[in-house]
């Protein structure tokens, strides 16, 4: 089954036990839901989910701000 933003949502929720829900348009960086290290882990996780290498110019902070943006950039 193809990966979706839901896989990313589950990954983030697993790392934030105090977080019960995460909306597709929540800015996970400005809201500090993920810290710097988790951002880097997230990039690696999304590459693994896609099964193809991410190019350097794919990796901008803005591409990873929301689940909706992640879906549009990496899973469509």
């Amino acid at each position: 089954m193809a990966a979706t933003w839901n896989d990313v949502r589950e990954w983030i929720l697993e790392r934030n036990p105090d977080l019960t829900d995460l909306q597709p348009e929540t800015d996970i960086i400005d809201s500090r839901i993920i810290d710097s290290l988790q951002f880097v882990e997230l990039v690696l996780f999304i590459e693994d989910l896609r099964g193809t290498a991410l190019e350097s110019n794919d990796v901008s902070l803005d591409s990873f701000r929301t689940l909706k943006g992640i879906e549009q950039t990496f899973f469509q």
């Binding site: 988790q38 951002f39 880097v40 996780f45 290498a53 902070l61």
Partner: protein
């Protein structure tokens, strides 16, 4: 547990009479040791020594190492002088695992120094090529409009040293234990198995913890228990269950 500082080392507990001492090597970006809570949970007979990086924090007035090898040279010299003749158990996470390997190489070449175990955590083996995506992802965090957080300056310097690090693939003699976050994308348990090629000593097991790359910042008691087991197993490797 009391702490005191000597040279590049912070000593936690009474190292004066201990046979075994746990030595922690810092991960990338560390200023003060992040392992102090783990060291505090070790039994009283098992003191901890935390290696700190010159050029930052308490050692801000000292020359910063320019390479992984330079840092390892300094710590190996300080350990040989401050805690000679002890059974040292080196533990390092991420970049700290590479430091631990390099310090082990240096101590094993010195008289009166014994590395009783090497515990590598959250890192691929020393000869592995750094993933370029890691540096790219960290670079993405350094946007001009984003305030740099505490420690990120040191993270950048340490990542540069990691990127430039090369090894001669020398094999150490120390018994090896591997520690890993179950969902750590930096180094998976399967990838970490390759560390076995870097020691001729007994394999003490793979210990997997819930969490990602920063698993060691929580669940300190479980990690402390594993370190205590590694110390015990290093004395009696013949008793280790074959499944580990």
């Amino acid at each position: 547990m009391n702490t005191r500082a000597e040279r590049s080392l912070v000593i936690q507990g009474d190292a004066g009479k201990a046979d075994d001492i746990v030595v922690f090597l810092p991960p990338a970006g560390a200023v003060a040791s992040p392992y102090l809570p783990i060291g505090a949970l070790l039994q009283d007979t098992l003191p901890a020594v935390h290696c700190e990086t010159p050029g930052r924090g308490r050692l801000a007035n000292e020359e910063a190492p320019g390479s992984v090898h330079g840092a390892a040279d300094r710590w190996a010299a300080d350990l040989a002088e401050i805690v000679p003749g002890r059974r040292l158990h080196l533990v390092g996470h991420s970049l700290g695992a590479l430091y631990a390997y390099e310090v082990t190489l240096r101590l094993e070449s010195r008289p009166h120094c014994e590395v009783a175990s090497l515990s590598a955590s959250g890192a691929r083996e020393p000869g592995s090529t750094p993933r370029s995506l890691l540096a790219t992802a960290f670079a993405a965090l350094r946007t001009p409009d984003r305030q740099q957080g505490a420690g990120e300056h040191w993270m950048d310097r340490d990542l540069r040293m990691r990127g430039e690090y090369r090894t001669a693939h020398q094999v150490v003699r120390a018994p090896l234990a591997l520690l890993c976050g179950a969902s750590d994308p930096f180094a998976t348990p399967a990838e970490m198995e390759r560390w076995k090629d870097f020691t001729s000593g007994p394999y003490l097991g793979m210990f997997t913890f819930r969490g990602g790359h920063d698993y060691y910042l929580s669940g300190e008691q479980a990690i402390t228990d594993v370190i205590s087991r590694v110390v015990e197993h290093s004395r009696h490797p013949e008793l280790i269950p074959r499944s580990q």
